[in-house]
């Protein structure tokens, strides 16, 4: 059954330069923003208790942290069938951070555990495994966040009728540069909380921290 109900942003998370925000409220700040220091510090701050996190590549680690931050207090998994939760992410560096590490290992015997992360969509698989999500998934590589595409693609998922919630946004990491900006999207629900409309103008504002004309 198709669904053309208006969509809303029910929550946001942002991780950038050693700082995190949940629904635009600053939550955690670490004095050392370097990737190797910051990601484990945030893992402990969020009290994830998920040992598999340590075995992932850094892009997947960032994705797990950003999604946990996004869903905390904003999402009840018991309200949805696993197939009703979609994940649509994009970034500009694909899996280059891990690709470079794998190339360095080629001089010796490369690690199979590194090789399996040489695709950016593995990050989505790890998020799906952690939360049990089995809905539609998509991973796109673009030079910069493409809010028009993001809006249209997510809207098309909801229009098909199966998706009830979608985690979408931007998760990019290369060496010590990282940024995650996520949105929890869905139709209005009975909680009567007024949320931001899910449209390219609001996405642009969240992703680029400014108002602007979006074509």
């Amino acid at each position: 059954m198709s669904n053309t109900s208006p969509l809303y942003i029910h929550g946001t998370s942002r991780i950038s330069a050693g700082t995190t925000w949940k629904d635009e409220q600053q939550r955690f700040r670490h004095p050392d923003p370097k990737t190797e220091s910051f990601l484990p510090a945030l893992y402990h701050a969020l009290q994830l208790n998920y040992p598999k996190w340590y075995k992932m590549d850094r892009l997947s680690q960032l994705g797990i942290l950003a999604v946990d931050l996004l869903l905390k207090d904003s999402f009840n998994s018991e309200d949805y069938d696993p197939s009703e939760v979609a994940i649509v992410l994009s970034n500009s560096h694909s899996s280059l951070d891990t690709d470079a590490r794998f190339v360095e290992q080629l001089a010796d015997i490369p690690s199979p555990a590194t090789f399996v992360y040489t695709l950016p969509n593995i990050m989505i698989g790890e998020i799906g495994i952690r939360h049990g999500f089995k809905g539609e998934q998509g991973c796109f590589v673009t030079a910069a966040p493409d809010v028009k595409f993001m809006e249209q693609y997510v809207q098309s998922l909801f229009a098909e009728g199966r998706t009830k919630r979608c985690i979408t946004g931007w998760i990019d990491l290369f060496r010590d540069d990282y940024e995650a900006v996520l949105f929890l999207v869905g139709p209005e629900t009975k909680d009567n909380i007024i949320h931001s409309a899910f449209n390219k103008e609001n996405l642009y504002q969240y992703l680029y921290h400014e108002q602007g004309a979006v074509n």
């Binding site: 040992p51 340590y54 075995k55 010796d108 015997i109 690690s111 199979p112 555990a113 399996v116």
Partner: protein
Amino acid sequence: MSREQLIEDLKRQIVAQLNLQVQPESINADEPLFNEGLGLDSIDALELIVLMQQNYKIRLVNAEDGPKVFQSIGTMADFILENQAEQN
């Protein structure tokens, strides 16, 4: 190298190589590496093969030997010692 020393070395190497969040000394040499024991997965099995090749120059030639060799750290140590004896 004694079997006991090899087992202690393997515990440290496996924890480091697989990024396990356990103390090496807390691992029982006879506990299963997969499923209910340390809970390793198929990618970890490949990492163990690489570890043996890198650190001990020992190749697992027959894949069907894997479940027996990687049953526990103790069985890994036995396999390494047997192959080192054959090489010498």
